[in-house]
């Protein structure tokens, strides 16, 4: 008897402290307070309160150089100036002269149209004096056959990676540096292809800029031996010049371009949403004035696909408004060529607009990558006559659950 009692006590203790309280509910009897209701509403941008601003990222600050042969009806060319090459090399604390054996020019292909074949990168010798203010017209005279250094074929199977050409023998004269150049080599890039297309070439700001390598033999008379060396020089500067500059319409919202444009769009949340709603989905919808243009068929190769971003504005002070860099809060929509609508899931962004420490209900639209994209989307603004074309914020939200008390 005593043993049995002990077993029962032990079983009770062992079985204790287990919880399973979830059961199916039959509403309304077992749903005190009812069930949550999801509301859906569409807010258009505050009329007249959205604007585009230009000048954020310059062409020479871009992470890549877009080089096209008329993709958007005009040509874009790249310019690269390498670090200066000295006329001697230090070896064992002694400056040594050298003899050039060959030189190599290498570029990183970041993006291409994978369906286009027969691409060639044409390298021209240009004057090293270009700068960020240089225009297409300023450098166009250098892009003549006499200045052609090399035609570098881009393998049809190469989606991304290094494109390289080596010059030796008589071709070395094309890259010979004279005292007037201060030992600096500058190269202009142009794209040749059977159709209108473009490539994106790695740049200094993207940490994958062009490299100019010189292979030399050192002259060491005291030992009578020759030493082989190479002198690798990265880009000191690079930029892109465009045959045509986009004209901004102040009644529209533009993003991208070089220098890049951004657009500030403001929304006004109704008090009942701002004060007590739980946002479960928020979608920013933009309508392009024209179908999105750009480089098609880049999905496989594109390491930095063009996308529209909506960055939360931390303090609304106009063009220089600081924005959040928290990636979780920044929705984006990758641009598809030919798309007629852009939408971004922005619930984590809109969450910043509600609560006690609410941020301004504004977003800064931008293009990624800036100043190096083939797309230059332009959207209808809040000034569009048709409200359906204006920037919209589609919200799905729950109001405060009416907890029955008790």
């Amino acid at each position: 008897m005593r043993w049995g009692f002990g077993v029962m006590v032990a079983a009770t203790i062992l079985c204790a402290c287990q919880e399973k309280l979830t059961s199916p509910a039959d509403c309304p009897a077992l749903c005190p307070g009812g069930t949550p209701q999801v509301f859906d509403t569409v807010l258009t941008a505050v009329v007249g309160a959205d604007s585009s601003y230009t000048g954020y990222v310059q062409a020479h600050q871009a992470a890549a150089m877009p080089v096209t042969n008329g993709l958007e009806g005009f040509e874009q060319r790249g310019l690269v100036r390498f670090l200066a090459r000295g006329d001697s090399v230090t070896l064992r604390d002694t400056l040594r002269g050298y003899t050039i054996d060959s030189v190599a020019l290498s570029f990183t292909l970041a993006t291409r149209d994978t369906t286009t074949t027969g691409l060639e990168l044409l390298l021209y010798r240009v004057a090293p004096g270009f700068d960020s203010t240089s225009t297409y017209a300023d450098v166009a005279p250098a892009f003549v056959p006499e200045s052609l250094v090399a035609m570098v074929p881009i393998s049809d199977t190469l989606n991304s990676g290094v494109v390289r050409t080596v010059l030796q023998g008589t071709d070395l004269s094309k890259v010979q540096l004279s005292p007037s150049d201060s030992g600096t080599l500058a190269i202009g890039l142009r794209l040749s292809a059977p159709t209108f297309t473009g490539v994106r070439i790695g740049a200094l700001a993207g940490n994958n800029g062009p490299v100019f390598t010189t292979y030399v033999t050192l002259d060491i008379p005291d030992t009578g031996t020759a030493k082989l060396r190479n002198i690798a020089l990265t880009a000191a500067a690079n930029t892109t010049v465009s045959e045509a500059s986009p004209v901004l319409d102040t009644t529209l919202l533009a993003v991208g371009g070089a220098p890049s444009s951004r657009s500030l769009v403001r929304f006004a949340l109704p008090p009942r949403i701002r004060d007590s709603a739980t946002i479960v989905r928020a979608t920013i919808e933009l309508t392009p004035v024209a179908p999105i243009t750009g480089l098609p068929n880049t999905n496989v190769s594109d390491t930095i696909p063009s996308a529209v971003l909506a960055k939360p504005v931390l303090a609304d002070v106009g063009a220089k408004s600081p924005v959040s860099v928290d990636r979780v809060r920044i929705p984006k929509d990758t641009l598809e060529v030919g798309a007629t609508a852009v939408s971004m899931e922005a619930v984590r962004l809109v969450e910043l607009w509600i609560g006690a420490a609410a941020r301004p209900s504004s977003v800064m639209l931008s293009l990624d990558p800036e100043a190096s994209s083939f797309s230059h989307p332009v959207f209808y603004s809040s000034r569009a006559l048709d409200p359906a074309l204006r920037p919209r914020l589609r919200l799905s939200y729950l109001l405060r659950f009416p907890f029955e008390g008790p």
Binding site: F5, V9, E404, P406
Partner: protein, 378 residues
């Protein structure tokens, strides 16, 4: 010092005192507790008004012969059925805690106790399809509550002669419900939503009781209690004042033989006083309840009645908070249990097993309640 530690433990422990969960505790203030120690539960509550370790009748404290502390743990295994489906559930609760003892050189006793007053522990899940942005989306709603109302009683009893004992108690009624409503969308485009609220309760009550011994074999007990009202705050705002019931209890105990004792009692609570308050809050109201219990205790060892007695009983009760307006749920239970005393009667263990059936219309519940009580007489 030891007594002081026990009292301190008692005061610090209110947050854990909730009784069993039930789908019939979803509405109103929750599922009512019974304020019974395990040895009274084993006889279905038939001796509750005479049991000093329970908290139903303050006059029962007079029968305490020594400082006594009691701790109760209860494990429930439930099968819930309603039109939405069925589920097997389980939970652990600590429904009764008591410390009491006689006053030196006086025919009196005092005691402190924490009892479960009502319990609202549940998690309810519903699944449905709603239309969002013109697209049907499956959603799962989860509504849960944790917590309940506890009853802290300070009571005393005074014995007049050998036959009469009178008692009185003061009750602090407090507790909280932590409510959570969650909606999960079966579409990754939607975030789940979770909203929380906390209801807190505060009130006071008084109780009085009497026991009368008619000879060595028969006794009766009665009690009356008024709990006034409870203030209900949602988060930081007062949302309601809900009237609590008057409670009337009458019980008898008879020992037809030296090895057998039988008891029966009826307790009526005027929960309908809370009806209008709960309706005003959007609830389903409340109704008066009655609980009838009868049980027996068979002593297997006539010389040591506390050594493994066999206790059993049955009870019937109605439930105060309907799931469907106008209906009233009820429960029926049978119980069985025993106990042992050891260490020269200074410690004891009681065990009870109860099977209950609850129903209200299409809603039903079956449960096994296993309760385990520890009593110490230092």
């Amino acid at each position: 010092m030891r007594r002081a530690c026990l009292l301190l433990l008692l005061v610090l422990a209110p947050g854990v005192l909730w009784a069993q969960a039930s789908q019939f505790g979803v509405r109103g203030l929750g599922f009512p507790g019974r304020a019974l120690a395990v040895r009274s539960q084993a006889s279905a509550g038939g001796f509750g008004l005479f049991d000093p370790e329970s908290s139903q009748n303050p006059a029962a404290l007079a029968s305490l012969g020594a400082l006594t502390s009691v701790f109760t743990i209860s494990q429930n295994y439930r099968t819930v059925e309603n039109p939405a489906g069925s589920a097997s559930l389980q939970g652990t609760r600590f429904p009764q805690l008591m410390v009491g003892g006689p006053v030196q050189k006086q025919p009196a006793a005092v005691g402190l106790s924490y009892s479960n007053y009502t319990s609202r522990d549940f998690t309810l899940v519903t699944a449905s399809t709603i239309d969002l942005r013109g697209v049907p989306v499956n959603v799962t709603d989860n509504f849960s509550s944790r917590g309940g109302i506890s009853d802290f009683r300070i009571a005393g009893a005074y014995r007049v002669g050998d036959k009469w004992a009178f008692g009185g108690g003061f009750h602090l009624i407090s507790g909280s419900n932590r409510l959570t409503s969650t909606r999960i969308f079966n579409d990754p485009g939607y975030l789940s939503s979770r909203q929380r609220s906390e209801l807190s309760y505060a009130g006071v009550g008084i109780s009085a009781g009497v026991t009368r011994q008619f000879g060595p074999r028969f006794a009766v007990a009665g009690m009356v209690r008024s709990d006034g009202h409870v203030n209900v705050d949602r988060d930081v705002f007062r949302v309601a004042t809900v009237d609590l019931p008057y409670t009337f209890g009458l019980g008898m105990r008879w020992s037809p033989a030296a090895v057998l004792s039988v008891g029966a009692q009826t307790i009526v609570r005027t929960w309908s006083g809370a009806n209008s308050d709960l309706l005003a809050l959007g609830g389903n109201g409340a109704q008066n309840t009655i609980e009838v219990a009868a049980g027996a205790e068979y002593f297997t060892d006539r010389r040591q009645p506390t050594r493994q007695p066999i206790r059993f009983g049955a009870r019937y009760a109605t439930m105060p908070f309907p799931l469907v307006p106008g209906e009233q749920g009820h429960e029926f239970g049978i119980s069985l249990g025993s106990g042992v005393r050891f260490a020269q009667q200074r410690a004891g263990i009681d065990l009870s097993l109860e099977r209950v059936w609850r129903s209200e219309g299409v809603y039903s519940e079956r449960a096994f309640l296993v309760s385990f009580g520890i009593s110490v007489r230092p």
